[in-house]
Symmetry: C2
Subunit: 210 residues, 2 copies
């Protein structure tokens, strides 16, 4: 099985190959582990270990086939499946996520949006009609949904989490700052955009203190 | 100097300590490198190396002082400075970022919002008035701004990037899917929320194929 660090590395390889390698070479893009390692400031041996873990065989002195690496990452991480999700909190951030087309190639299919604000019910974002919370359980059951996305204010996040778990949701993508308590069999990924500020702030500090 | 990987690790320690350790122990929270390593699936030796790099001295058989680690990370990454930023594209995502209070403790100060949609000019998000693009250069010069945040559609991102760089911006936080070309002295962080889907999709795949 893959741990959190390995999954993050695979995502970085995926993104790096899509951006750097496949776009540049039209026919058969080949890349070496040292190219990927250098690009992501990793050890060469870590890249080779990761490739072996997902079943990519490199050719000695030649390297890896970029398209094969992308395919194997997509298979290992499950991007070839299609997993439906519900999104709670159709506000600014929730609306931006519902409208973003970049998620489709990763298998995510946001099938329904919910909100507590009566003024939003019936409005549409990119073809999704915002539904009242009474519809939450029936929609989860009807579509066999495993994933719940939370883009609600902190103070409502825990009660909505409890409600989602009771309805059968086992995986949560939480954007609210709330610290959620859930049973051990539930997987939560907290998304904190402030993580990006580490690099930005460090670089600005260097500009201000050369 | 710290490379991208090291900065990401420091951010994970920071978040982990804030969430797991400081909240739980009221008086003097102490943690060991193996506690942090286990929590983040890293090697013990990597944690100790990182602590040494930011000047945190651990006490043999006791561990690190959690408050000291947080302070040293804040200093190393520059969160103690206050850096102003402009945000272009006051739409759904831009509005959510402008309204988010979680960025303040990291030194980010979004001082001005800009948009091309005349209907949005003069509206306010969390106290920020949306300004027309004509005001961009004067605001950047007046406030000595180094950071530009892009939450605009892909097709406008490159021309706005060129305009920001010409006005003296050296650091960019790009949320648009566009691939931006910039001179070597410009630092860009592309934010791709799909990175989070790696873990979510992998976990759902495990649920569907036990
Ligand atoms: N993780 C990050 O880095 C980050 C960045 C920006 C915003 N956020 C967080 O994302 C969340 C949303 O931010 P936003 O700017 O979109 O706010 P917003 O106010 O625009 O949207 C919140 C939505 O949730 C709805 N809502 C409130 N209570 C509800 C309930 N009980 N059930 C269903 N819907 C409910 C509101 O009606 C509103 O539409 C906030 O918690 C914010 O702190 C996180
Ligand atoms: N990185 C990610 O994971 C992620 C997630 C969601 C959205 N996005 C991206 O973020 C961007 C914004 O998404 P959104 O949902 O907020 O869209 P939106 O349409 O709500 O907001 C875009 C804003 O940009 C403004 N704009 C358009 N052209 C402009 C110009 N030349 N100058 C200044 N402002 C201009 C529009 O008037 C609008 O207010 C898009 O590029 C989207 O693809 C990225």
């Amino acid at each position: 099985p893959l741990n959190r660090q390995a999954i993050e590395r695979l995502m970085h390889y995926y993104y790096c190959i899509q951006e750097e390698f496949i776009n540049l070479n039209s026919d058969c893009p080949v890349l070496s582990s040292s190219q990927l390692a250098k690009h992501l400031a990793l050890d060469d041996s870590q890249v080779r270990k990761d490739m072996a873990a997902i079943g990519v065989k490199g050719h000695r002195h030649v390297g890896f086939d970029a398209n094969e690496v992308v395919d194997k990452i997509r298979q290992s991480l499950g991007f070839t499946q299609n997993y439906p999700a519900v999104l709670l909190g159709a506000g600014r951030l929730g609306g931006a996520l519902a409208a973003y087309e970049g998620f489709n190639t990763f298998g995510l299919d946001i099938v329904a949006l919910f909100d507590a604000d009566q003024r939003k019910i019936g409005l549409s974002i990119s073809g999704h009609i915002i539904q009242p919370l009474e519809q939450l359980e029936p929609v989860i059951k009807r579509n066999h949904i495993h994933l719940g996305i939370l883009t609600v204010p902190s103070e409502t996040a825990q009660e909505l989490t409890d409600r989602l778990i009771k309805a059968g949701i086992q995986v949560l993508w939480n954007f609210s700052p709330a610290r959620l308590s859930v049973p051990d069999n539930i997987f939560i990924r907290h998304e904190h955009l402030f993580v990006g500020l580490g690099q930005l702030s460090y670089y600005i500090k260097k500009i201000n203190n050369p």
